[in-house]
Point group: C2
Chain length 334, copies 2
Amino acid sequence: MKTGDIGEFEFIKRLTGDCVINTSGIVRSIGDDAAVYDPEPGILQVLTTDLLAEDVHFTRKSISPGNLGYKSLAVNLSDIAAMGAEPRHAFVSIAIPNDISLEYMDEVYTGMKELARIHDTNILGGDTTSSRSGLVINIAVTGSAPSNNLLYRNAAREGDLVFVTGSLGDSRAGLHLILNDLPYTGDNEELYMAHVRPRPHVDEGLFLGGFDGVHAGIDISDGLSSDLGHIADESNRGFIIYADRIPVSDNLSRFCDNYGFDPVKYALEGGEDYVLAITIDPAKAEAIIEEYNKRFEYPLVHIGEITADTLHQLKEPRGELSDLLPGGWDHFKS
Amino acid sequence: MKTGDIGEFEFIKRLTGDCVINTSGIVRSIGDDAAVYDPEPGILQVLTTDLLAEDVHFTRKSISPGNLGYKSLAVNLSDIAAMGAEPRHAFVSIAIPNDISLEYMDEVYTGMKELARIHDTNILGGDTTSSRSGLVINIAVTGSAPSNNLLYRNAAREGDLVFVTGSLGDSRAGLHLILNDLPYTGDNEELYMAHVRPRPHVDEGLFLGGFDGVHAGIDISDGLSSDLGHIADESNRGFIIYADRIPVSDNLSRFCDNYGFDPVKYALEGGEDYVLAITIDPAKAEAIIEEYNKRFEYPLVHIGEITADTLHQLKEPRGELSDLLPGGWDHFKS
């Protein structure tokens, strides 16, 4: 069945079941000119939006519709996580080509709702339209946080320790499999899944935002060197990271062994990992790490420091320092 | 110059000048993982989002980039207006094909900022990416209003009088000119402009939201019969409108004379007029009309009533009643 067979209003009705997960403060959801919700007093609102376009961010061949829906929301939740905020409401805009079936779109929404439920996030509205070219999904997500909890990019201080909340480079390896028609099975399956179904570190961001000693935060969407560069540049500081401390999964190590790649390059430049990079006051780091590691399975990994200069540097195991160029993902230069 | 020549971060810097118009309550704007703003206490937040896709909602040939930017924001502000709310912040996602120049995108943003300034609305964030197919613009806009001011679709009551805030059908006539390569000059120019540069009735919506007697509201985006149908259906009521009371511009009358069309059909089914349709308590209507007409140049026009049944009816001048099918714009059936 094609979307054209049922019309826009029927289509919206079909997709908008189970979209409101947490009714607190909601005055109107889908079905009016705009959604209406009551912000909590004393809590700041955040809002992020990300657009995924067919043949730029994904191909229909290489990602299932369920994972596409999941990922479209995940990249937005990851931005909310990077602010140290709690996601609240998502607004989904979709442009749908004529050759996409209703069943396909059902699966997109099913994947989206699955992740929304995990993070108690509502789908409160959006826009659906046809497309004469590719499938386009834009999601805007609001979040809220006490003002002290928010993790800004420009808040890193000289001497801060730099941590990441997960291993890096898997997603880029998954993309390599897709682009080169390599099998997604066995050792490669988790790399593929890291690319098509990334887990946003919402709980980690919320937890870290609660500590005074956690200063700056960003999610690794463009690549570690590029994204840490944003923190450094906007804080008027530099950074130094240690090549041998960058966490790399066993899967990525095997993948790089098999295909002759450098795992550190994948980790530094890969992008779309959606783990968080944060900077922590060195005097408070030990206590925060202890609490964090009690709560989460994957440890906070100390990979470097914020420096007084404005250099972006990588330190090799034998001590050589090299300048890190922001070699991450740039959506216009790919 | 192409967007690929400068890269995403430079591109964003280039476009994001002059985007914050009203700094009140803004903690962070463009440049972090999400924008941060402080909601007013006791005020509800609304959020709307609309996606415009090339060759579905516009062609590059038939609309200037400045008008495209203007219209992309206008359709969202119109939704905020239809809620009786005040627009606050816009978030702009754009997917840009390789054959679009930076100068083109500058003009898109110039048109957008021109309208943003008129309504004291900030552009606080968004997402830019490349597109392998058409140009896509998605805008999300937040607004705020005291809860009593909000105009919901389901709030119409039996006996309410139905009003519109402007003439109908011009935009559809403008689209006819575009689709049939007819000249946009002379008598036709205003029809064309009604389509490519619609004025959102933000001031009218805000003003009307302030009266207790104004019950339901919607903006005419799909067509009067379809949009009034939403109010009726969601209020479990019906409506009757009078064919000879539907306001039609002189330009549209001349256009219909010239080309042999029925102006009432254009007005009922046209869509994209972005005037407001509202329902008012009959006991309070006179006082509201008087205040409204003091403030605004174009009068509130009384076109019909909300009925106890659930019929959608049109009354012809000679008294015949006919059922109105929702013949407006459906984005999947076009």
